[in-house]
């Protein structure tokens, strides 16, 4: 008796994907004259949000356990500043710095994870402290903005264009312009694929779902809940560091105010993508679409030209409200069915 697997969780994911296509199609319809229909517009969304995609993938894993990590934005700012200062002032090469940043990410995750998993402190508070710490350390490392110009490898990675052999258009000068991707997009998509496979096919991935679904049951079934939770936060900070490198490749600078509010973009992308804040339900593909929706909204607002950028925040907040209420309604329905 094989019935189609449409339950409330899949339904949420479906709504998200459909919503993305509807929004994008609307944009194409309304702004065709402003070049919205070009493939590059879509690719630009990916390019501009490569860092956010990596962070959201990590955030999804943490939210699966029922927790949250609001330190990610500040961690990215700290990473960018380390990269910038490291290249420009300390004279280190970028591969070494990138390795350092990944190591810092792991250490950061261990510290946060320990406090949350073993000391049983609320995730919001611990990661808030982490956020304060990272943001402050960014300023301690350097107070002014530092632009990255001196490292050949870094600059090359940043400006390298991976051209796609299709979907081009002829510009005003009569030259064929092919759409392009950047290295960061490839990294981000690999991260998404890796996390998807991890969540679906490894014991660790399944234990994340179990811990979020019912922590007490997971313990009684013999899972090491504390270790699983701590690993989730280590993973999140590690992926955030990867995201930080991507982010820096985009901005090519370190400032103290970078990536402010990025954590909320990641959380809202994950929620819109179908991840429940209460844990146990979530899908990194959904989160990817959540980021795409976020990106589409910003692009729509920017293309319009007449609306100020706050409109994209407002629309995102409205969507967030809609999805939070929807999740809550589904939960109430499930309770009543019992």
């Amino acid at each position: 008796m094989k019935k189609k697997k449409i339950n409330s969780n899949n339904l949420l994911l479906l709504i998200t994907i459909v919503l993305f296509f509807v929004m994008y199609a609307a944009g194409c319809a309304v702004y065709a004259d402003k070049g919205f229909t070009r493939l590059q517009t879509f690719l630009n969304i990916l390019i501009n949000n490569a860092g956010l995609i990596c962070v959201t993938a990590g955030m999804t894993c943490v939210m699966l356990t029922g927790g949250i990590d609001i330190s990610v934005g500040s961690l990215i700012a700290m990473d960018c500043m380390i990269l910038a200062v490291g290249i420009e002032q300390w004279g280190w090469s970028s591969p070494v710095l990138m390795f350092l940043i990944l190591a810092i990410g792991i250490v950061f995750g261990i510290m946060q994870g320990f406090c949350i998993a073993y000391l049983d402190i609320q995730p919001f508070i611990v990661t808030m402290a982490g956020m304060f710490f990272a943001r402050g350390m960014t300023a301690v490392i350097c107070k002014e903005q530092v632009s990255i110009v001196s490292d050949k490898i870094f600059t090359m990675l940043s400006s390298f264009k991976i051209s796609l052999p299709f979907g081009g258009y002829i510009n005003k000068k009569g030259i064929m312009q092919y759409p392009y991707l950047r290295v960061t997009v490839v990294v981000a998509l690999i991260v998404v694929l890796a996390i998807y496979l991890m969540l679906k096919y490894t014991r660790f991935g399944r234990s994340l779902y179990a811990v979020g679904g019912n922590q007490q049951s997971a313990t009684l079934m013999g899972l090491d809940v504390k270790k699983t939770k701590m690993k989730a936060y280590i993973l999140s900070s590690f992926l955030t560091s990867i995201g930080g490198i991507c982010y820096c490749l985009n901005t090519m600078a370190g400032t103290t105010t970078q990536a402010t509010g990025l954590e909320m973009d990641a959380i809202s992308s994950a929620v819109i993508g179908g991840t429940l804040l209460t844990g146990g339900v979530g899908n990194v593909i959904g989160s990817l679409f959540g980021v795409l929706i976020n990106g589409t909204i910003s692009t729509l607002v920017k293309t319009n030209g007449k609306l100020i950028s706050s409109w994209s925040n407002i629309v995102t907040a409205v969507l967030l409200c809609f999805f939070i209420v929807l999740q809550s309604v589904f939960a109430l329905v499930k309770e009543r069915k019992k």
């Binding site: 402190i121 982490g130 956020m131 304060f132 107070k143 706050s310 409109w311 809550s328």
Partner: protein
């Protein structure tokens, strides 16, 4: 000796008072080290016809945090969760208020487009509605507080910016500036904060609100059997918190006689939550001490001011705040408490009572 120390540390207001004294001590030590007057921290003088001094500065700049702490204490106590939207709601107030006072589309006015009371009144009404919105989601739809308030966290500031068209709207009218300026020799924000705290204290003293909130926060089920309507109480607390955010916004806006919606209230929700924690209140809800939170609020401000005096820039200060947060919550954490209990051997009688 040990038992009297333990008795002292278990008093409700130990943590906030101890922290405040510690911060003052650091200031005194610093003053001595810098070769200045040892009690320079405490000196109050009158310059240009107004009160002047580091203490006055702390009381002045800490007004917003103190007002926010009132609402946050009630929310944490009744629902065991936090309202992270208060900073953004402050920004929303700024947008609404200055929009009305300056009239639509103006960014720099010398007189009111609408009466002062209209601007302030509508602003506060809007923030009250925000509080009710949050409260409804938490109390009646059973959504986690952090999640529910996430919506206004992102929307509040954005709407505020929208109302002012992303510009900073200046209202250069003397009566508006007065709210952020001085009332004879005392800075007005201090008076506003004092009035808010006084009203809160009076309400808690003369009505049963405190009992209701604590009861619901400690044991929701037992409270229900005893006749309380937990949902209504929780909604009320969030509504009050929203109103407090509006009042804090009122003070912040008047201080700079403009609506800088981008920066007003930025990260203030974190200061408010810290005040409550530093005040000795459990972030999991239950018994609360408003006095503790208020002392905590001014202590947070004192820490910030002290850091600036020590040469730490405003961008670097968060590092120290982070350390303070971690120390407080780790001490309050159950596994840590159990660890400390094992270190200081307890008598068998106390172990049996536990």
């Amino acid at each position: 000796m040990m038992s009297s120390i333990k008795k002292l540390t278990q008093k409700r207001l130990f943590l906030p008072i101890f922290s405040m004294i510690l911060v003052m001590l650091i200031n005194v030590v610093y003053d001595i080290a810098m070769g200045g007057a040892p009690l320079g921290f405490f000196m109050i003088s009158i310059k240009n016809g107004v009160l002047y001094g580091r203490l006055i500065d702390i009381l002045n700049r800490g007004s917003e945090i103190a007002i926010l702490a009132i609402g946050m204490t009630l929310v944490v106590s009744a629902s065991g969760g936090t309202d992270i939207s208060v900073g953004s709601v402050m920004s929303l107030y700024a947008g609404v208020c200055c929009l009305i006072l300056a009239g639509y589309g103006n960014v720099n006015v010398q007189q009111y487009a609408h009466p002062l009371l209209a601007g302030i009144g509508v602003g506060l009404l809007v923030t009250l509605i925000c509080g009710i919105f949050n409260g409804f989601l938490v109390a009646y739809m059973n959504i986690q507080p952090m999640v529910a308030t996430l919506i206004l966290w992102s929307a509040g500031r954005a709407i505020g910016l929208l109302l002012c068209n992303s510009q900073i709207v200046y209202v250069r009218v003397p009566s508006f500036q007065k709210l952020g300026g001085y009332c004879s020799i005392i800075p007005t924000p201090i008076i506003v904060a004092a009035v808010c705290v006084a009203i809160a204290a009076v309400i808690l003293h003369f009505t049963a609100l405190g009992t209701y909130i604590q009861s619901v926060g400690i044991n929701k089920r037992a409270s229900r059997i005893a006749g309380f309507n937990s949902a209504k109480i929780i909604l009320m607390c969030y509504a009050i918190c929203g109103l407090c955010a509006g009042l804090a916004g009122m003070v912040a806006t008047s201080r700079i006689y403009s609506a800088d919606t981008n920066n007003i209230g930025l990260n203030m929700e974190l200061d408010a939550i810290l005040s409550v924690a530093l005040g000795g209140n459990s972030l999991g809800g239950g018994k609360f001490s408003l006095a503790g939170s208020i002392i905590g609020a001014y202590t947070i401000q004192a820490i910030t001011t002290t850091l600036y005096a020590l040469g730490v820039s405003s961008a670097q200060a968060p590092v120290f705040k982070a350390i303070v947060v971690i120390i407080i919550v780790v001490i309050q954490a159950e596994p840590a408490k159990a660890f400390f209990k094992k270190l200081t051997k307890k008598s068998g009688k106390e172990a049996a009572r536990a």
